[in-house]
Amino acid sequence: MTGREGQSEHPNHRAAGGEGVASGREAAGGGAGWKPAPQDSPRGQGEGKRPRRSGWARAGERVIEGVIRTSGVSAVLFVLAIFFFVFREAAPVLFGGEHFKLLPFLFSVEWYPTSASNVRYGTLALTVGTFSVTALAMVLAVPFGLGAAVFVSEFCGPRLKETLKVVIELLAAIPSVVWGFIGLTVMSRLIVHFTGAPVGVNLLNGGIILALMSVPIIVSIGEDALKAVPDSYREAGLALGATRWQLVYRVLLPAARNGLLAAVLLGVGRAVGETMAVLMATGHAVNLPLGVFDSVRTLTANVAAELGEAPAGSDHYRVLFLTGVLLFSLTFVVNLVADLVIRGWRRK
């Protein structure tokens, strides 16, 4: 069988299955005059020498490989080093602070680091503040950002697309202090005017500002993820009679979902880590929020505002570093969960 296929390069022979049924000329001829093809010796092309790479080329490759390996490993080292140095500052209070206990630190809402009579370090209100502002920001930013990414990538014309991308990148380049100003002045007045809330700097304000800051990231990363979907998928989907929207939600979103999740996570990362804008926009009151019009304080804003006043080496100073460790752990957990979610999808 293989001999017969190897015998001829004629294209029709490759449809060999047909020959028997079609009983064409070639089939008849092929069956009668069958001869094994002459065997080439395995090293038949003995003429001429194989090209060889110079010693320099091989040494160069070693060096490049080494550099690449170092870069890869260093990423891990940096993360560990950051964790180590932050933790080193925090460790003394964790293992022997005078007024410090771990459980109240995590689960108490009472944050009185400078009280004369009764110092208390409870960060629950700050953690809840971080999470609530982030969650509100994502509720606003994810649909908006992904929608904008889909529009820019799939629906709008090439000229509008270029314009929008430039504007979105501009939006991403606005410094966070400027966003803080906008929150403090424009947004807070708007909130007071439209909702009648007593103060304009609150959870809602911070959420909106953070959403505005995360949207550009979500849009540009999300658009990249959609752009990475091969055009052949689009053509195949459309050739099957899908409308553009059907194409988006049946083909492109599933195909790009890992990239889109990465976009959302980077948005979350920005929102969790943002300091200055939330410091200015949320009202900076240590408070368990009961509604979107309550003021809150976040972990990051708390560190930024108090670290300058805490004497270096004091318990207060070290507790603030421990807050950093807590923040680090929280983002780590968020990323880990997202990673597991992706793995779960892949296995399917």
């Binding site: 294209p11 029709n12 449809a15 299955g17 049924v21 064409g24 998928y233």
Partner: protein, 253 residues
């Protein structure tokens, strides 16, 4: 050949930028026939098919003049281009398994067309996979990714997918390049069956395949239509054009 005309192509010219790929092609396709389209590389075979369901629109610099009418309506005047594409099934030479499960791949087009009922969908998916000679190989793993199948299986998956929206016209572009001969024969049998309900355009590099299947065969050469006649005539000792004879017998091309 008194069957009604399904597709009417008149003086179709297609240019990619400044390079013209089709230089004025005219022919008819009748209902319930298999029209074989043969010709060497760069003859314009695929471009011709892509004009029919307007997937040519995806190529930004493609310009199309002349007229292509499907059931009497010019495809460029069609309002509902999605409906047009549902009417025409298309199998591309390089299989593109959508990044969905095997089941969802086949159920894609019916779902887009609005079919929601589970039992109907399941029956349809099974029928299409059987027709594409793929059912036995995948029936136990319908919900794994279609892109994990081998090349030949993906090719058959695209055939099943093209059948899934019950097209009235089926365009096959080199459907058998990645499929073994035995399976090819099974699919060819299905195509012969389908002819009763579907009009088939079969682009193929395997001239013998056109000979086995096609009622009429069209020979394209560098963007022009050399000859269109009954398949027996094209593959006889005396087609009208010398070039046809030479190509079919492997002397050029």
């Amino acid at each position: 050949m008194n069957a009604p005309v399904r597709i009417e192509v008149r003086d179709l010219r297609l240019a990619y930028g400044t390079r013209e790929a089709l230089h004025g092609v005219s022919f008819d396709v009748h209902a319930h026939e298999i029209l074989g389209i043969i010709g060497p590389a760069q003859a314009g075979k695929t471009s011709l098919l892509r004009c029919l369901n307007r997937t040519i629109d995806f190529t930004a610099d493609a310009r199309m003049t002349g007229s292509v009418k499907v059931d009497g309506v010019d495809v460029r005047q069609v309002k509902d281009v999605f409906g047009l594409r549902r009417k025409i099934g298309m199998v591309a030479p390089l299989p593109v398994g959508l990044p969905l499960s095997i089941y969802d791949n086949v159920a894609f087009a019916p779902r887009c067309a609005g079919l929601r009922r589970r039992d109907e969908l399941e029956a349809l998916v099974e029928r299409c996979l059987r027709q594409a000679a793929l059912w036995d190989e995948v029936k136990d793993r319908l919900h794994t990714l279609g892109t994990r199948l081998s090349g030949g299986q993906q090719q058959r998956l695209t055939i099943a997918r093209a059948l899934s929206h019950q097209p009235e016209i089926l365009c096959l572009d080199e459907f058998s390049i990645a499929i073994d001969p035995v399976t090819t024969m099974r699919i060819e049998e299905v195509l012969k069956e389908l002819r009763r309900t579907v009009t088939i355009l079969l682009v193929t590099n395997l001239t013998q395949q056109a000979r086995r299947l096609a009622d009429r065969t069209l020979f394209l050469w560098k963007g022009e239509l050399v000859e269109l006649d009954r398949t027996e005539v094209i593959f006889s000792e005396h087609p009208r054009e010398r070039r046809t004879y030479e190509y079919v017998n492997g002397m050029v091309g």
